[in-house]
Amino acid sequence: QKEVEQDPGPLSVPEGAIVSLNCTYSNSAFQYFMWYRQYSRKGPELLMYTYSSGNKEDGRFTAQVDKSSKYISLFIRDSQPSDSATYLCAMRQRTGGFKTIFGAGTRLFVKA
């Protein structure tokens, strides 16, 4: 079993839809949770990060962490064609070299 599981999609939605992207993890030592966005033929860029269980909002994006269920989500409101990209969840332990473990990434297509 991989440490981080993420459905690769693809996920196709119409413009304006609410998008929900999810990851599950098995290592309860993960303390720091991130979402990266990767456009085609580009490097990943950090979109959001959070430490604790609960919600964190930034504009149209909300990151949610449920440590008891080992489950994280990224919600995108009012999705735009420019949101079309691959979204990778990532997480890190507080100790052990701070190695970042990435999910496989979910490809999202937002149709105009």
Partner: protein, 115 residues
């Protein structure tokens, strides 16, 4: 100005050849990384250097050898290339290792195809 740059962007080569990929960051960061992203977009760390010292060395074949001439550069040399080495290789950098909250900045990637 490009923060993390990699050369070349594309590399097509024959099996058995030796090749190098170069990475440079102008962010003044102390830590640099090499990641491999396979055809299914799975991104996995290979190496990490902090101030020219190796701090993460994942289970990769010893045909892969990173070299850090200074803290702004981290190069990756690959000997005896194999078909399975075909992937996109990303360089990244972060301010300092030692805080687990550090943000990593990625380069544009080098697309390696081994024929």
């Amino acid at each position: 100005d490009t923060a993390v740059s990699q050369t070349p962007k594309y590399l097509v080569t024959q099996m058995g050849n030796d090749k190098s990929i170069k990475c440079e960051q102008n962010l003044g960061h102390d830590t640099m990384y090499w990641y491999k992203q396979d055809s299914k977009k799975f991104l996995k760390i290979m190496f990490s250097y902090n101030n020219k010292e190796l701090i993460i060395n994942e289970t990769v074949p010893n045909r892969f050898s990173p070299k850090s001439p200074d803290k702004a550069h981290l190069n990756l040399h690959i000997n005896s290339l194999e078909l399975g080495d075909s992937a996109v290789y990303f360089c990244a950098s972060s301010q300092a290792s030692g805080t687990f909250q550090e943000t990593q900045y990625f380069g544009p990637g080098t697309r390696l195809l081994v024929l």
